[in-house]
Amino acid sequence: MDVILFLIFAVIAVVAAINVVVQTHPISSAISLVGVMGSLAILYLLLGAEFIAAAQVIVYAGAIMVLFIFVIMLLNAGAEVKKGQSTMALFLGLPLLAGLLLVMCWYLQGWFPAGTSVVFGGFQSAAANAAPLQAGGSAREVGMALFTRYLLPFEVTSILILIAIVGAIVLARKEME
C-alpha cells in the first residue's frame, strides 16, 4: 500500500518536473511546479513529516508559487521563443542524462542496503515526551527542537525575512518625483 502510494506520487512528481523544464509558457511551468510540490508534500507525509508537509503546502505551494504566478501575470511577457536549438545536442544530451542518472541510482542502491525501509508511521518520536500516536515529525516535536536547539537560526531567519521585505519594497516602489 505504501509502495503504491510512493510510486504514484513519485511518477507525478517526475512528470511534473519534466513539464516545468519543457513547457514554453512560464505559467504552465509554474502550475507544474505546484504539482511537484503537492506530490512532495504527500511523500513527506509518508516519511512521517506532518508539520513539514503542511508547511510545504501553506508556504511553498500556497504563497511562494502564488507570488511567482502574480509576477508572470503582471509581466505578461508571453511564451518563450526558441531559437538556435540543435537536434544533435538533444540526441547526445538526453541519453547521457539518462545514463548518468542510472549510474547514480545504482550507487545509491548499493550504499543503502535493504535494511531501512520506509513505512507510514515508522517515524515515532522519542518515548519521553510524546503522547501516543504522535508522529516524529509532528508540530510538537518540530516546535520543541526549533525553540530549544535551533533558537539562534530561528531568530536569524526572522531578521533575514525582514531584510527581504525591506529589499523587495525598495526595489518595487515607484520613483519619487
Binding site: Y44, G48, Y60, L108, V119
Partner: protein
Amino acid sequence: MSGIPISWFLMLSAILFALGVAGFLFRRNIITVFMSIELMLNAVNLSFITFSYKLQKVDGHLMAFFVMVVAAAEAAVGLAIILTVFKNRATLNIDEIDSMKN
C-alpha cells in the same frame, strides 16, 4: 508488510535535482530559470527529510524548514529584481540581458 526502500526516495531526490539543473542551464526565460532553482531546493528538502527518517531524529525537518524560509526570502527579492529588470530592458530573455550597459 514491506515498506519502501529508503534509496528510492534518494533516487527521486537526485532525479528532481538533475531536472532542476537541466532547466537552470537550458532555459532562456529568467522566470523559468528561477523556478528551476526552486525545484532544486525542493529536491534537497526531500533528501533532508529522508535522512531524518533514517536517523530517527527530527533535525532534518528543521533543516528543511530553514531551507523553505530562505527560499521564501530569496523568491521575494529575486522576483522584485526581475520586475525591475523587465521595467528597464523590456525583455525576459537572459541572452539579451547580458551586459550592464543598456
